[in-house]
Amino acid sequence: MTESDSATAPRVSEKGAAAVTMRNVDKAFGDNVVLDDLDLDVDPGERVVIIGPSGSGKTTILRVIMTLERIDSGSITIGNAPLYHMADGTTPANEKRIREVRSHIGMVFQHFNLFPHMSALENITLAPVKVHGVARDEAEQHGMELLHKVGLAKHANHTPGELSGGQKQRVAIARSLATRPAVMLFDEVTSALDPELVGEVLGVLKDIAEEGETTMMLVTHEMGFAREVADRVVMFDHGKILESGTPSQIMNEPEHERTRSFLKAVLAH
């Protein structure tokens, strides 16, 4: 890890994307250590793809940032705001501060997790109206813009049950964009899709990446997509970062044998 410049770099970009800083983060499920004294720095607006074998803990990185799992010790900072700061591993996270910091983070899940009893538009406007106090008209207008952006404007009134997997995932992406997060987390968002639907979702992700309004952390097995979109690829194994570098560095000349064999297995597939 060569992140010496990140200490002085701006923590929030002009477009509103925020840096993510993880220091000495530990997380274990029982005896199973998933994050082992992890340090990770993501610059504002940076697009980081996290790769690694399944069970290596890469999804857990996103889940602890989203506060779906609590860390055992260490600190996580979003922009300038500490989400967790547990230097000695005992200070509990403050619920109010977590809520405040969490409002700048968005997450898209492997299994969409759309609300099945609401239309696509209602899914998108719920958080802006209920959490951020946006007026309903305004939220709906912004929601329609987002649906337009992901190519689903005419499906605004459809419930998730009436949409295909790729459409659901695009609605889910629009929903997480609705609160204009400074950091977006994408957890294997194409893994549950039929192969022919993967392209439409990756297309939307590329659009978001190009706009650069948000820091993106993606866990994915789509290496072609990673090569195209990522500023940096992080190879993760056994709770630690094995190596990290530009996509071509990691994919063409990885330093570690472990990375080489993993890439070989994924690309052969």
Partner: protein, 276 residues
Amino acid sequence: MSAQASSSEPMIEHRSIWKRPVTWVAIVAFVAFLVILYVLGTRELTFGTDVAPDPNLKWDWPYVISLIPDMLNALSVTAFATVYGFILAVILGFFLALGRRSQSRWISWPVSGFIEFVRSTPLLIQLYFLFFGLASATPIRFSSNQALILGLGIHYATYCSEAYRAGINSVPGGQWEAATAMNLKPSTTWTRVIIPQAIPNALPALGNYLVAGFKDAPLGFAINVTGLMFFATTVRGRDFRPIEPFLMIGVGFLLVSLPAAWLIRRLERRISYDRI
């Protein structure tokens, strides 16, 4: 807004249960039935009949017909005790379910204990306690009907709470995670995300408890409720005719139970969410 929803594909029926005709047919039918019963059952029980039963017949039609108005009165008492009790059960049960899920042990343990205690003791004993026990030990006095409604309500609240709990547990974990990721307040998560999915899941079980509660309502006989059981035993005692009144109240129970069970089965079939 450039993109109004003008889909070329047919719009499929929205899946909210309140937008389905069957829900409203069921509700209207049920309310109409109660209104009819209420109107029929407004008179006091008289047991007055000018028709003496024919001792040579085991089943005397004119005698049976003369008893019908009184039977409907009694049916009305039983049915309304059930309905009021069940309304209490549905509301109280929801709060019991929330209490049992509470993060605080000071709430969840006593609530769990109460639920297990009530579920594991017979309703008949609970009715005795409410009607005779409380009256002898405390200044609290319940009428027979009040004690039956309260007894049914509390007893079935514990069952309903389990139905709610199952309904809440059947909401996938991803829904909670999405709510967290969207930073929804706990109250918004409950009212907008969890409850709208949990209630339809719980409805079939709740419906079954309504029918079960109706069939338990004759236990009110033990605390002098003038329902169907009281009607039948009184007639039997006066005229020494057990066959007619007991068969009649059997039919009276069927009149309510069968349509209710049918409606519940229909609801059950219709209310099934497409899981994402």
